[in-house]
Amino acid sequence: MSKKMPSTPMLDELESGPWPSFVSGLKRLAEVDAKPHGAIMKSLLGQLEHSYQTRKGYWKGGTVGVFGYGAGVIPRFSEVAGQFPESSEFHTIRIMPAPGFFYDTKSLREMCDIWEEHGSGLIALHGQSGDIMFQGCRTDQVQPAWDKLNEMGFDMGGAGAGVRTAASCIGPARCEQACFDTLAAHRTVINDFTDDIHRPSLPYKMKFKFSGCANDCANATQRADVAILGTWKDDMQVNQTEVQAKVKQLGRKEFINQVIRMCPTQALGLNDDDTLDVDNKSCVRCMHCINVCTKALKPGKERGICILVGGKRTLKIGDLLGTVVVPFMKLESEDDFAALTDLCHRMLDFFADNALEHERTGEMIERIGLTNYLEGLELPLDVNMISQPRTNSYVRTDGWAEEVRKWNETKSGAAE
């Protein structure tokens, strides 16, 4: 006989209001007695209501995995299984979607069918980590569900102290502002790290994220240990006729307010004939003027990436933003992509060798100093890596002459 729907007075309050309700979704799953998710979700609703009533969570971790991999399943066992037995095991399977979160309905429906048979029927599209999260699986169903998802052509995401699932903005698939192929870079880099995703053995997690320009739609700068952001080197592209049209549309005053005055480096001026004067040497490629004038302005043609390293959230020493370690690198040819992948491997190896346990890349760099990190990776020093030179005189400078020699060498190397 089928069980009754649990009473959920608090959750019921989340069914009203105009925004789509996840509670209604949980109930839809709970109401189907013919599938395993009926019983699972009735129980889950009971436990969630209990959390709402008591204001406490009731999940604990454990060890659950699939054959051949050491990560990717987030085990969840209920601490109140006695009361809510059918959802006592409610594990999540993290699956990596295609870069940019593209699907065809055939694959999505197939995923739904698999999850209807083997899981709770609840899917998060997507976790903040960038994974498809198949939430709510009994231990004995993890392997069969995974087998089918894997056969579809999808692979497991990261968890624990390893390389994590990457994320990228939509990039050249549908954005004229993309300065590199975010989707190709994502796929090339991350698919070269599958071993470190599936068998985590690093001091702590390591994340790569890819955004095609300074707008950073993938939230890479703080949320990734390695943020790969698009930029350009030459002059931005200006269509002066379209600039004049934009001035006309906004009015001179508003164009000055919204475009000229908002440039962070005062690199813009409005000419008497309503064309734009761009001081490209002062422009920091921030994207603002391009965002406002989407028809008139574009990044330059000599495009590539910059790499910021060390972003992370609060645990343990406090939040850190990524900082520049590579100001510019082309990313077009196969060799360029190979060079990026190689650099990412060196970053990972250096992290694996030098970070303390549970230390992120940003914390490691803070501890050892940026210059040691650069030396370890054999990356050349660049003035773009600082916002200003040191302000504290307590530093030993007896290697000065040698450093000047290196700088001159780098400069003449670059001039060749």
Binding site: G57, A98, D104, P172, N257, T314, G318
Partner: protein
Amino acid sequence: MSELRRPIESGVPDSKQFMHPALVRNYGKWAWHDRPQPGVLRHVSESGEAVFTVKAGTQRQMDIFTVRRLCDIADAFCDGHIRFTIRSSVEFMTTDESKIKPLIERLEKEGFPVGGTGNSVGFISHTQGWLHCDIPGTDASGVVKAMMDELYSEFKNEEMPNRVKITTSCCQINCGGQGDIAINVQHTKPPVINHALVSGVCERPTVIARCPVAAIRPALVDGKPSLEVDEKKCVCCGACFPPCPPMQINDPIHSKIAIWVGGKHSSTRSKPMFHKLVAAGLPNNAPRWPEVAEVVKKILSTYKADARPWERMGEWIERIGWPRFFEMTELPFTKYHVDTWRGGRANLNASSHLHF
């Protein structure tokens, strides 16, 4: 026992096999874009071909029936192609302009609000909370649903000075990332230790090493090895709880909600910024968190009324100054707003620049 299947270590699949053919055709050849109306994007390629995108909100945590309904819509209007954004909105793309109106009507009819484009309040970035995490101080999906109900029209319209990204975090690890507004759990009492369990469950050196202020020491309690916390030092961050669940940090009364503002990831105009604490001590008042909603709405309406076009929350506050922010939002300013963490001195006013 049957032979176990070895995984196919395929990594991420190629996106192009799933993309709308118009995106494949014009890959890397886009010329410009605009937004014909809130919720709709038009991208035009160098070839002149235009692709229209209709964007809609979802509940992110979706039952298979909802996913199938989205698939039905994609089959009817977009030749079976569908995409999600980083903030769990769904995007439908078509080259046929005449499909936009019926597509929007269908989405709205099925309960998916169309919007989230341009200078709107986007969908709130989610964490896990009581539904799935092992350490949460509150729920995430519930907070997000409650807030989005309140901010519904700001999602559907583009009336903000710039885009507003709101994030949630249901513990102080802060999965949610930086936000123009961040709604985060803030514990206010040290962990309560169940000494009987510690030696059995926790690797004590790991737990001690996890504490950011070195407040945890080994101790012998009732003859059993356990841990103790120097409660004067403890900053109630909860970092000891994941490696040692007997150090319970969550508390139905003392785990509060704090609001932070002015964070941003992008380097657009200003450099990326961390969000800053503006309100704390708000009750963890499930299922609708009205006290939190009130503060969020007050901050948003003040920003909406006062910021100049294109100023993100943090940029607006930098211009008007913090005294004016606290005055306009009528939020109390306390000693807890003064940063005492390492490097916190950089957040003090080292100038005679004053706002009156």
